[in-house]
């Protein structure tokens, strides 16, 4: 009303009034936005300070728990642990965010420790019922929280949550699928049994992570990977062959040779490479037979030739490998030259003869092979 009277006293046109009202509104909105930004900054910095304070408090208590409760200090009374739990309960209270900071801090400390030091932190997680918080997050609407929960439950070996985690294997979210896959690898008493019914892709990243985990567990606890060589899911077959190779499961060789007759070229290629890596001399003839048929397929030819370099016979395979020296693909010619050199003196002679008879067209490859820095 007051503004109306002022504007009337200046006899402004309708357009001028609109501009003045618009500017006023804009000014108020800008002021509001600045105020909101200012308040949100205050809230954020207070939140960060609270997080930092809680982390420091938790860290101090966790240090005491790890150092006092491990077997190196057996004289510590059991009641000391209960006292520390009471301290943590008091600080975390019933605040979900404080309890989350505590879980994160326990994980931060636990990742660097092993043995009794790590076990006491797992006991702390359960003594404070933090598994309930993690399980609650599994029902969150946010995928990030679900993924975080899956990770926590796996880290603290919460086997009762396996049925809930299995459901995420078919989630539409790729990260949740990967997290649940990794969690199951860690949680199942027999690692990887869930692969029996797994029908999705195992990405290279998942493969690397699983290998990283499996390489830390006892060899006798590893599954026999050949049980998945005939799995209907090609991705599982490829994964299990590569794991059999990494863990040098020579008992899987008979089942592996059958894979040479697969109709999937990726499986055949990986099976060939694996036979070479595992030095399966007894299956040399199968590779020779394959090599005579794979000329048109560059990748397979390359792998078969490389495999023969590892398990071939100096007297019998030089002729076959020499043929590959005139293959149209450079990579195959290169592997054939490497393989002949691996077969010893006779292979070396065959290489030199071929080079002389073919106007030195292998010179580049031979120079490459002779370069010590490239070996």
């Amino acid at each position: 009303m007051w503004l109306e009277n002022v504007l009337n006293s200046y006899h402004l046109t309708q357009a001028e009034r609109v501009i003045i009202y618009g500017s006023g509104l804009l000014l108020v909105a800008s002021f509001g936005a600045v105020l909101i930004l200012f308040l949100s900054r205050i809230i954020k910095s207070r939140g960060a300070a609270r997080t930092r304070r809680l982390r420091e408090q938790f860290q101090k208590i966790l240090n005491a728990i790890v150092v006092n409760e491990t077997f190196s200090e057996r004289s510590t009374p059991v009641s000391a642990f209960e006292y520390r739990m009471a301290e943590l309960r008091l600080i975390a209270g019933s605040s979900a965010s404080a309890r989350q900071i505590l879980i994160t801090q326990i994980l931060e400390v636990k990742k660097n420790l092993y043995g009794s030091s790590a076990e006491v932190l797992t006991s702390t997680y359960y003594a404070l019922d933090l598994d309930r918080d993690s399980r609650r997050k599994l029902r969150s609407y946010q995928w990030k929280k679900k993924a975080q929960a899956i990770r926590e439950l796996a880290e603290f070996h919460h086997q009762q949550s396996i049925p809930q985690i299995v459901r995420f294997l078919t989630s539409a979210n790729a990260i949740l699928r990967q997290e649940s896959f990794m969690a199951l690898v860690r949680l199942e008493p027999q690692p990887l049994t869930f692969l029996d019914h797994y029908d999705l892709e195992i990405s290279e990243w998942m493969g690397i992570n699983i290998y990283n985990y499996l390489s830390k567990i006892e060899v006798r606890k590893l599954p026999d990977f050949s049980r998945w060589f005939n799995h209907p899911n090609v991705s599982v077959r490829l994964f299990s062959i590569s794991m059999a190779r990494q863990f040098r499961q020579t008992a899987a060789l008979p089942a592996l040779v059958d894979q040479l007759y697969s109709d999937n070229p990726n499986i055949v290629g990986l099976a060939v490479s694996t036979l070479g890596s595992l030095e399966a001399y007894q299956y040399r003839k199968d590779i020779v037979s394959l090599a005579t048929h794979v000329w048109p397929f560059e990748r397979l030819a390359e792998r078969a030739v490389k495999c023969l370099g590892a398990i071939g016979d100096m007297d019998e395979d030089i002729g076959l490998l020499s043929k590959f020296l005139s293959h149209p693909a450079y990579s195959v010619r290169f592997e054939a030259a490497c393989a002949l050199r691996q077969l010893g003196d006779k292979g070396e002679i065959a290489l030199r003869n071929f080079n002389e008879q073919n106007d030195n067209n292998l010179q580049g490859i031979l120079q490459h092979l002779s370069e010590p820095l490239l070996k």
Partner: protein, 121 residues
């Protein structure tokens, strides 16, 4: 009292190591959160022991080891602490002058025993 420099960007780990070593009365622990800070501290004062992680911002633990041995020309005992327990890395650490190598995850009790042994020498 021994002066021990712990170089690691992992706050939780440094806090744990500091707590354990102080509790065992092994010395005063000084922290460096990255390679640059570690170098500055090493230039400023002498330490009785350096515990360093390999992967740190600015300079790696191996660079710190080389710096102590070659640039400063000191024989300060060095324990390299790393999540990377590859044979090559371990060998490289010993070749450039590390006195001990501990792979993460580790046991604080084991670390304390090793520190005690090194400081006694």
């Amino acid at each position: 009292m021994a002066k021990i420099l712990v170089c690691d960007d992992d706050e939780a780990l440094v806090s744990m190591v500091r707590f354990k070593l102080s509790r065992e009365n092994l010395g005063e622990v000084i922290k460096a959160a990255d390679g640059r800070e570690a170098k500055a501290l090493l230039q400023e004062s002498d330490f009785d022991l350096v515990i360093t992680d390999i992967h740190m911002p600015f300079h790696s633990g191996l660079e710190i080891t080389t710096f102590i041995r070659n640039d400063l020309g000191k024989n300060t005992p060095i324990i390299v602490l790393s999540a990377e327990g590859l044979e090559n890395t371990v060998l490289q650490a010993f070749e450039i002058g590390a006195n001990d190598f501990i792979t993460k995850p580790f046991s604080p009790a084991e670390l304390a025993v090793r520190v005690k042994r090194i400081l006694k020498k």
